[in-house]
């Protein structure tokens, strides 16, 4: 029962990683850019959720605002930051992205203060126990939401014309254009979807911790990068599996290796181990 419980806790954490990392993969697949500032959008979503809930008293409204505003912010980052430097070497965009990420953290600090925010009325997220399992309501909600959203995204990319066009654009943008696919629209759509999913992750974390802080994106930013490398860079399926696997491994690792390595060190030990055995990620062919 302990194992099952750890496994579920790991899946919950992995769901957060998955919601964040999918956006990174979408961007990497299309533009070959490591979109570090993506983790800033995760924090933005969390901040919007808390401030709008506290201001209006309506959590659903706050979620809507977080998803919509963060999605649009992602599109704006593409248009204003990446599009002008697309023909430069990839490290230019990486540096720009890191710069934006730091600027976003400072902006949160300036706008909302350095100590973080909490919901005025703490959400009812007590732990539920059944049959020896214990999970918080927030964790259950998170897993359900992540499964619905990521499953929906999977159906979209695998089963619809738009999804097929998206995958074609990832492999060969000029050829996709020759068949009438507007690749700029594909990019905007990807930034919107990826950023909105990061906002959902931010909302979920804000519920679980009842705390949002300026630096809450730091750890997810590098962990999500590790995940997309594990997932084979640019593969949505690979990213999802890698995210969940990492969550589970961290959960078990903190129990068995906890006095040796902390959670984040375990994650990176796992990354190094996998890359030594499979240099192109868990599923990478090339």
């Amino acid at each position: 029962m302990l194992y099952l419980n750890l496994f579920l806790q790991g899946l919950a954490q992995g769901s957060i990683y998955a919601l964040i990392a999918v956006g990174l993969t979408l961007v990497y697949g299309l533009l070959r850019i490591l979109h570090v500032a993506h983790a800033g959008l995760f924090a933005l979503g969390a901040y919007i959720s808390v401030t709008v809930t506290n201001a209006t008293g309506s959590f659903p409204l706050a979620v809507l605002a977080a998803v919509a505003i963060t999605g649009l912010a992602g599109m704006a980052i593409y248009r204003l930051l990446y599009e002008p430097i697309l023909d430069r070497p990839p490290f230019v965009a990486l540096i720009a992205s890191i710069g934006l990420f730091i600027a976003m953290e400072e902006a949160f600090r300036l706008a909302f203060g350095p100590y973080g925010l909490s919901y005025a009325v703490p959400p009812n997220m007590e732990t539920i126990t059944f049959g020896g399992l214990f999970l918080s309501r927030a964790q259950i909600l998170l897993m359900v939401v992540a499964a619905l959203l990521l499953g929906g995204l999977g159906l979209l990319t695998e089963r619809t014309r738009t999804g097929v066009a998206w995958r074609a654009t990832v492999t060969d943008p000029p050829m996709a254009q020759s068949f009438g696919i507007d690749i700029v629209r594909v990019r905007y759509l990807s930034f919107f979807i990826g950023s909105a999913l990061a906002a959902v992750a931010g909302v979920m974390i804000s519920l679980i911790n009842n705390l949002v802080e300026p630096t809450m994106g730091s750890v997810p930013s590098y962990k999500a990068l590790a995940i997309i490398v594990l997932g084979g860079l640019g593969s949505v399926k690979g990213t999802l599996v890698a995210a969940l696997a990492l969550g589970v491994i961290e959960a078990f690792g903190t129990i068995y290796l906890g006095n040796l390595l902390d959670r984040d060190a375990i994650a990176f030990a796992f990354l190094i181990l996998v890359l030594m055995l499979r240099p192109h990620g868990l599923f990478g062919a090339r």
């Binding site: 097929v164 995958r167 074609a168 050829m175 254009q177 020759s178």
Partner: protein, 240 residues
Amino acid sequence: MLRLENLTCGYGQMRAVHGLDLEVPAGGVTALVGANGAGKTSTIMAVAGHVAIRSGRVLVDGQDLTRRPATARVGAGVAIVPEGRRLFPDLTVEENLIVGGYALPAARTPPNRERAFALFPRLAERRRQRAGSLSGGEQQMLAIGRALMTEPRFLMIDELSLGLMPKMVDLCYEALASLKTTGLTVLLVEQNTARVLAVADRICVLESGRAVWRGTAAEARADPRLIESYLGEREAPALP
């Protein structure tokens, strides 16, 4: 159908085609031939919107496409079977065809797909297979099928037979002959002289980015010097 007026195009500072004038009349096959590096692919990719045009004009049915983006060409009835085929390797055969029909209403996809399968029954057998796992000949068939999904009026094919087994070359040329009877206009790049002389109605010979000979296939056959100097290096022409 296609008219190139004084077309100059290239990569960065480099010019691959210099002031090319080319007229491809509607119906029939026009072949573009020439040695490696002559500029055949560059010409086709310029018409497709993938190589920067420095000067001159590209007209399709009188419509000026010179400055239009690559995405706009398919709407003008232009389709391409590019050099190296450039399928979407991780997509299945069927999904490649879906992308081919993306510019048209979704309802056009099933009938067009069935037509592509009728032309190349091997594709129908492999419809759920990844395009990247097909043999070279099957990939070429899929590249043609994908282009036909756009319901083109003008089809550009770059290196139809290159690297294919003889049996596959036959199948591809049978398909081309049958497409020709439907009134489709084709611009064909082909290194195999015998095939060119057999299928083409008109021939244009490129050398270093310039047209050095233009005429009908009959005129080409009657000109042994031309065949020797521009067309003959690879294979003796099979005269009818």
